[in-house]
Symmetry: C2
Subunit: 332 residues, 2 copies
């Protein structure tokens, strides 16, 4: 089928896929990354890798159909996956929520659809999306940091996603920022993720609510960590919960401290902030991350990197995955 796709005839369609813990989103894009149609499926990660891979394929087919196209219009597929991947081999090494292990996803999709496929870490895909179509357009070096339950990072350097030995990289969430800090999910202490991730924020905010110091949050979301969403934190702050504001600002400043490590090392043109917490509170995050970075960046590098908020929201990963697949095809 690949042979029937002519490059540059305006009909080349690229499919981007974002595999999340609960849902799979597939979007068909034209050659300029304009979305043409999309489909969503539940991930059903617990039903095993085979079941969820079939759902990925079904979402791709659904997006093609929703765009009013057929498989022969597709030039390539890019997939953003949670967890480490081998971009070189097209293999998903492991996924935190899906119980995938060494899944040769590129090969599976290429066999099924007869077009080139690319497998990318979801954060890397998101940063590439912002580089190609969003807040990092045209920058020589972009570092993206996405605070959420984990704190993901990714870097696009001179047009390419930076990747590590056998694996995706930029694990900013597991850089240690507080030597005697709280225990992290990875087993170590004081990782950025443990200090500034969603769990650190919601546990401190819930404790404040429990102590009676965050009445708005208590009314909105209670004290169950599983129920406190980014929007609840933003709403509680807007309603005057100053203790919640203090907690979130502190976490955001730590994100700036984490970003400063990458600024000291890479001196990137842009640092892009994304993810649900940033989307819910963009001004707060921008202000505090800038402050935290300014404090921890070496003096001669202050002002080198512009800190900005992501533009593509939850479309960054699908867009980036599709754009990356397109870029690989052009480079060949």
């Amino acid at each position: 089928m690949a042979e029937t796709t002519k490059k540059g005839d305006g009909r080349a369609v690229w499919i981007g896929v974002d595999i999340g813990g609960t849902k799979i989103l597939a979007v068909a894009f034209d050659d300029r990354m304009k979305p043409l149609g999309e489909d969503r499926k539940k991930t059903k990660g617990r039903s095993g890798a085979e079941e969820s891979i079939q759902r990925v394929a079904a979402a791709v087919e659904g997006a093609i159909k929703a765009a009013g196209l057929s498989a022969k219009d597709v030039a390539g597929i890019g997939v953003g996956c949670p967890g480490p991947v081998s971009m070189e081999k097209g293999v998903v090494l492991s996924t935190p929520n899906l119980c995938w292990k060494d899944v040769p996803l590129r090969q599976i999709l290429e066999k099924k659809f007869g077009v080139p496929a690319a497998v990318v870490n979801d954060v890397d895909a998101g940063v590439y999306g912002e580089y190609a179509m969003g807040a990092g357009k045209g920058a020589r070096c972009v570092f993206g940091i996405f605070p959420g339950t984990g704190i993901g990072g990714g870097c696009v350097y001179e047009g390419k996603i930076v990747c590590g030995r056998n694996t995706s990289c930029f694990e900013i969430g597991h850089c240690r920022v507080m030597p005697k800090g709280p225990i992290c999910g990875c087993g170590r202490r004081g990782c950025l993720e443990a200090v500034a991730g969603r769990l650190a924020i919601s546990s401190a905010a819930a404790a404040a609510a429990y102590r009676g110091e965050a009445p708005a949050l208590l009314a909105l979301a209670g004290t169950d960590l599983g129920c406190i969403r980014s929007g609840d934190l933003a709403a509680a702050i807007a309603a005057g919960d100053s203790e919640v504001e203090r907690v979130v600002r502190r976490a955001a400043r730590w994100v700036g401290c984490g970003a400063s490590l990458v600024i000291n090392l890479m001196a990137p043109d842009k640092v892009i902030l994304g993810g649900g917490l940033v989307e819910a509170m963009p001004e707060l995050y921008l202000e505090e991350v800038r402050k935290g970075a300014m404090k921890h960046v070496m003096p001669s590098l202050r002002g080198v990197a512009e800190v900005v908020v992501a533009k593509l929201g939850d479309r960054a990963t699908v867009t980036g995955a599709a754009a990356w697949a397109r870029g690989l095809a052009v480079a060949e």
Copy 2:
């Protein structure tokens, strides 16, 4: 003159220059980076930029002469300079010891010698030298860390020196590893350099000597920080100064902590340790850096990066500068 040099005829000669605080070393290399001749001049940094630039030119001429060649044999010149440079513009932005400020060194040398010149930070050049001809040969991603008075870092990724926005980068010495740590020369607290650089080591070692806990060091070098050399530390440890050993091992472990930041971010194939301290105590540094890195790298990245000792010693920068100039010429 550039026109008279034929590429690939075996007569192309590349000059590498290493501008140090006290001396300038220039070496003429053949196309395979075999040294043919060299010259040294005193830097005389305090006599002003113009004087020391003339000395750079004289060292280049001296190396050509020592190799029994003439200027028309030279295909290109690469210069490793202390402090931040703009590789893109060929400008030395500032130098800690030489009082240079925005010196357009590439332009000056190209005008004088009529061949392409390249200006590179000295640590970057050293890492590139190890990548091209030493301990990092052929690796996809090499991170070099050189503990000394400062702690320099550099990265070669897919054959190119990684550079930052308008400047050289990988300022690992100014990444914060100890939030409430000692004051750094840059004005902040707890930078890797302040915790694990030569000054931190020699001041702790001198204090031990003063307290009578390091008799060998006291006999060898006294308690003047300016007189304690890497070789003295190594000799004192060999002679049984266990307190000196403890101080150096601790510093080396912090270097490993610093390296772990880059491993978490870049997942490089190799981490190369270089500089005078490492040369004087290679086994000690290797052991402790590996330990420190292992402790601070996220579990899934343990073992990704091989930690090795540099091979080229004080020839890394000249070799790398020349090899980089050669690489740029080939890429054109």
